[in-house]
Amino acid sequence: MTPDASALYQHIARSIVATPDEVALAAQLRDNTTIGSATAREAALSRLAAVDRSISLREQGREVPLVPSDPELAAPVLAGLEKFASAVEAQVSSQLVGVSGGRKRWLHASIGAAAVSFLAPVITMLTSDVSSTRVALVAMAVGSAVVGGILCFRVFQSTDETARRLQEKQVSLSFLKSAVDLLEAAPTTQPVLERSFDMFFKHYEGAHAPVSVSDLWPHLGSATDKS
């Protein structure tokens, strides 16, 4: 254990304004400063220092709460938060409707292109003699359909990802609304509200990789990865 980590932990543990969760986190971070790689130890010390700074600001009366403790002062802030959540939710919902429609269209286009690339040579073979001119035209049609199908599928993937992120925002906004309701009833639940803002501002849905073999043939893609 480095002396700095010990001193920081002592300050947090002895402060009357530190919450039990903060003390537990500080103890864990203090322990983490002695294990793992140098980078992990440094990260633990840095987080411990951040907790200590937050406690110091609170002790000095400088930490500004998100919502005032006084119910009268808190009421307009909470009303504003509710209005904010509702307005953003309405926008997110309307965008989600548009994206969902677009997502379906691109998926249908992708399937249509794939069908053309498959059916064009089959129909050609069944309905007429195979000449070199016809083969060239069919090959061009199949090639265009394949490229078009891949592009449509990629656009579908992007719209699908956008839709999922918007759905994620809808969930976080519902959480935010619930946190505001909870705060009206129990003013000590500010951390829940702070967490809901974290949920709203962060992305939990990872971005898709560009078109790869696995997009077209998942098993082949995974086999290639393993090798």
Partner: protein
């Protein structure tokens, strides 16, 4: 049992300690220690009230049981971070000077985080309010400013109730208290200061709401400032009133 006390000396009233010495006091108080220092009217025991157990130790050492403990602040902006001050409170606070030592009882600020609003008054044996003082003792202000938090300001008394103005007696009383509390680990520092001439300890005043919801001036403890004088101060327009109302 022997007790180690680090002593710093102030040559004249109004002097401040050099940075190296004030740093040693800060280190002792940050470690949960106590400091004997001259307050407005007598020697007082200072500690960091935000460290668990320190206010209780102050009361234990001074044999005060669960008496309310007032705080001394380094500056008015620091006071304003902890308590809500209206024009009534400002009148009392503005009038406090060397010959008018006043401890003001004011409501804990609504802007403070919940943990502070709950924990600080509870640690000082009050409910929803703090006893605050902007001391005329520069060393007391210097210590608070150095820590960037208020410090406890509990007057040291003789057994007969007289405030202690002798440095040696203050040391003896505090060390006896620490021995009585079987505490031999708490760091102890002290600041020696030329004798202070005062009629008594500070008067403790504040406002409370009566049954009809009106703010009523209350003198919780009559000290060096008589109640009559407190009422006079509270009813007098101040320069701040004129500034705020015009």
């Amino acid at each position: 049992m022997e007790r180690l006390v680090t002593i710093f000396n102030l040559a004249a009233r109004g002097d401040m300690l050099p940075p190296g010495e004030i740093h040693q006091i800060r280190r002792a108080l940050t470690a949960g220690g106590l400091c004997i220092l001259p307050s407005d009217t007598c020697y007082a025991l200072a500690g960091n009230p935000l460290i668990a157990g320190v206010p209780a130790l102050v009361n234990s050492v001074l044999d005060r049981h669960e008496e309310k403990i007032s705080l001394s602040f380094g500056s008015q902006p620091m006071v304003e971070r902890y308590v809500d001050l209206g024009y009534r409170e400002h009148r009392l606070l503005d009038a406090a000077d060397k010959s008018t030592p006043i401890t003001l009882v004011a409501a804990v600020s609504t802007d403070l985080p919940d943990q502070v609003r709950r924990a600080l008054p509870a640690a000082l044996y009050t409910t929803g309010e703090l006893g605050i003082r902007l001391s005329q003792s520069w060393i007391e202000r210097q210590v608070s400013s150095e820590l960037d938090v208020p410090v406890t300001s509990a007057a040291i008394y003789y057994a007969d109730g007289q405030p202690v103005r002798s440095f040696d007696d203050a040391i003896t009383i505090v060390i006896s208290g620490l021995l009585r509390a079987q505490n031999d680990e708490t760091p102890l520092v002290a600041v020696r200061h030329p004798p202070v001439n005062s009629k008594g300890v500070s008067s403790v005043v504040g406002y409370k709401r009566d049954e009809d919801g009106r703010n009523v001036l209350v003198v919780f403890r009559e000290g060096a400032v008589e109640s009559r004088r407190v009422i006079e101060i509270a009813g007098k327009l101040s320069a701040r009133d004129v500034e705020d109302w015009t």
